[in-house]
Symmetry: C2
Subunit: 463 residues, 2 copies
């Protein structure tokens, strides 16, 4: 049946392309209240499509911010229930003058569909919706489906947790399929198997009870900027390796398969660094992709102290601040790593230097689809079938908040199964989605749902 | 004649106190436009007093900001001409609720006159004005006088240079006597013999051409905050000594007399540090006063990079900034020291890290009244005569802009000869001036002018 549904979808691909263009014409920029109408129109578009496709319980889920769109098809009793995640909001289109064709007038050039949101992530989201619609039209879906189409992904999902907590009844499921989180290569088929975790720490350092005049006190009092700089400077060695005792204690060693996968996806350093105007850096014992996907990091995302306005002020500052985030590798416990950094900074602070830490949540661990996980097995089978090649396993360096949030709140594993490619200028002018990816997705998603229909709910939930 | 003038002044001290109270009732806060009326009334008060006292060319000098008040007495041909510097503006009185009596209602308690500006510097300024008035009333002054009463000292004298350039004719003189710059001790008589210099440097550090996402790039790109922190951390050793090759090359060695003076004025570390809630710090080979008056410093007055707003942002910043100022010890050339720091930072920046320096003026060297300078000889004689004790020579750690500006623009040396004491809460609530200092000043200033009347103009100008 999967085959037939896929063929039916591909046969209707022009119609689906028109539907995607209609969806892309709706300017759903979540960060800017000026686009409130576009957000509303997009929700209405999706609600109408889900209803028309025969889903039930089609409605908005409210979490206090931009609502999510949901709709269910529960016609496969005993089969797994999958949350299908996507998001309908897009990045702002600015700078407008750099677009070749207007961002909300979808335009095809050279087999590419140019529009804001085409790649991130309306294209892949619509593939999922149309796949479910086609199964229902053909008599039923191999699995139960609960759509969860978010409207705040591009602004950091501020109300996602509340939204999930308030609507747990609409989110009872066995696993999550995400239309967001695409391919890692334009040339090799890949499957996403993990992402780095994230934990953070914010510190205020003090050396005195008030700011001082550098003429009266300079030479006899610790400057908070200097002290903070010393602490930050000590966190890495010359090559950029983290220099904090205990930091790596719970990091899983990089295995042979991971090495091979990273090698298969080896990044071209010249391109990687050329794009950002930087020079190579980081642990020389590791490849570039290993460094940015498997290894943890400590970054000072922000630091400030003293006078930062125009001109000059001879203040000897008593206070300085730093915001740290740490990307976590597989195995690392966010709370432990956060504590390791805190303890290290406290141990390094000399007498007379006090540190105050902001209360912060522990963060999210790295996510890994373990070997043999039914989501991974299904994904690899689908990709091999549709592309004719066994996919390379790819990890991403970032942290997908939804992966962590679905795990923490609902205990569900997520498979990222989007069709976006890494060069499609998401968040930039001239974003595009390949028409070939649309067709590939319309073949892949039916197969994926069919493969998962062969799995028990328990197997999907077992970790 | 000095004796007679001093006695006449002291006999009239109640009248002078009333005049000072009238001056203190005028709220001349230069930083706040709401006090424009108070500034104007203060200028009119001073213009009227100078005219009434018999000075000529009494008028306002304009430099584009708050005008200065001037007036001359040139009745001693062949004698030196002295600019008498003071300022009529005051600091804002906030926080008002911490004042025991209102800041602009001068109130005497326990031999102290409480009011904003009493110590800084209307008290000492009026002593100088009344001294000149008394000499003129008694038949003439031992030296020629040009008053220069500034209205922008408390906001950093933004138009002082322009004001001097535009009014050079009113400022032809042989030396400067400043009513600002008071005593260094409440228990020992002191004479001010110098101040540290100042030079600055502002740098922007870059590691890439754009800000990056820490998930995509973290672990493989230099973070501008880390690189700036490393440069800053390397500027001092653990004890706080400057660790920049060549920095001390032109610093004059600390002499025996300077050591003895600093020792005589030794500061109580417990008080010094207790007041600011800090712990002792700085070159252990030097005393506290030596560290903050004779030794140069490098301070990062401000540093910033990346995201400094609320919450967290996983940016890997490509740019970070620092504002440096350096206090200079005797002998140091500001332009050379600025260049030494710049070259050091450039030498320490690793490949891929670029530094851009803001164009800045070279700054001001430390100021020292050399041994045997007629201003110093006169000041020491006056203080010994009026207090019965040889004064200790005191240097200040700060940089008096007027000292440097009068030197640079007019080639004139400055004697700081104010009567403020270091505990009089200038710039804070409950500022006060000792009534005993008023009387001491009314004895000291006549003697000072008399002593300087014995010196040739050439001797004052010779360095």
């Amino acid at each position: 049946m999967s085959e037939a549904v896929a063929e039916a979808l591909v046969a209707r691909k022009d119609e689906i392309l028109e539907r995607l263009k209609a969806l892309l014409r709706l300017p759903s920029v979540s960060t800017d209240p000026a686009y409130a109408e576009g957000m509303k129109a997009t929700r209405e578009f999706l609600l109408a499509r889900l209803k028309e496709a025969g889903l039930t319980d089609v409605r908005l889920l409210d979490g206090g911010g931009q609502p999510a769109v949901t709709g269910a098809w529960m016609g496969a009793p005993g089969k797994p229930t999958l949350i299908v995640y996507g998001h309908y909001d897009v990045q702002p289109p600015d700078p407008l003058n750099l677009w070749t064709s207007p961002p909300f007038e979808p335009t095809i050039r050279d087999g590419r569909l140019y529009a804001r949101g085409a790649s991130d992530v309306k294209g892949s989201t619509l593939i999922a919706v149309e796949t479910v619609a086609a199964f229902i039209a053909a008599g039923g879906c191999p699995v139960n489906i609960r759509f969860f189409l978010e409207g705040e992904e591009e602004i950091g999902s501020p109300s996602l947790l509340t939204l999930i907590e308030r609507n747990r009844d609409a989110l009872v499921a066995d696993a999550v399929l995400s239309a967001d989180g695409g391919r890692a290569s334009t040339t090799l088929p890949t499957v996403n198997v993990g992402s780095r975790g994230l934990t953070k720490l914010e510190v205020t350092l003090r050396t005195a009870s008030k700011d001082m005049h550098s003429g009266r006190y300079g030479g006899a009092v610790r400057n908070a900027n200097h002290e903070l700089a010393k602490l930050i400077a000590g966190l890495h060695d010359e090559a950029g390796r983290i220099n904090v005792p205990g930091f790596f204690d719970d990091l899983a060693p990089i295995g042979l398969r991971e090495r091979a996968d990273a090698a298969a996806l080896a990044m071209k350093a010249a391109e990687f660094y050329g794009d950002i105007g930087a020079v190579p850096y980081g642990d020389p014992a590791l490849g570039l992709r290993e460094r940015i996907t498997l290894m943890p990091t400590i970054e000072v995302n922000g630091m400030w102290g003293g006078y930062t306005g125009a001109g000059s002020k001879t203040v000897l500052p008593c206070e300085a601040h730093a915001k740290f985030t740490m990307r976590l590798g597989p195995g690392q416990d966010p709370a432990r790593v956060q504590k390791v950094l805190r303890d290290h900074l406290l141990a390094k602070a000399p007498a007379g230097v006090t540190l105050e830490f902001l209360d912060q949540d522990a963060g999210s661990p790295a996510f890994t689809l373990r070997e043999g996980h039914p989501l991974l097995v299904a994904a690899e089978r689908v990709i091999e079938t549709t592309t004719g090649r066994a996919p390379v396993r790819a990890r991403i360096g970032g942290t997908l908040p939804i992966t962590a949030i679905f795990q923490e709140t609902l205990g569900l594993d997520t498979l990222m199964f989007g069709y976006a490619m890494p060069d499609e200028d998401v968040h930039a002018p001239n974003e595009f989605f390949r028409l070939s990816s649309l067709e590939e997705g319309l073949r892949g998603w039916p197969l994926l749902l069919t493969e998962l229909g062969k799995v028990t709910p328990e197997a999907l939930r077992g970790r």
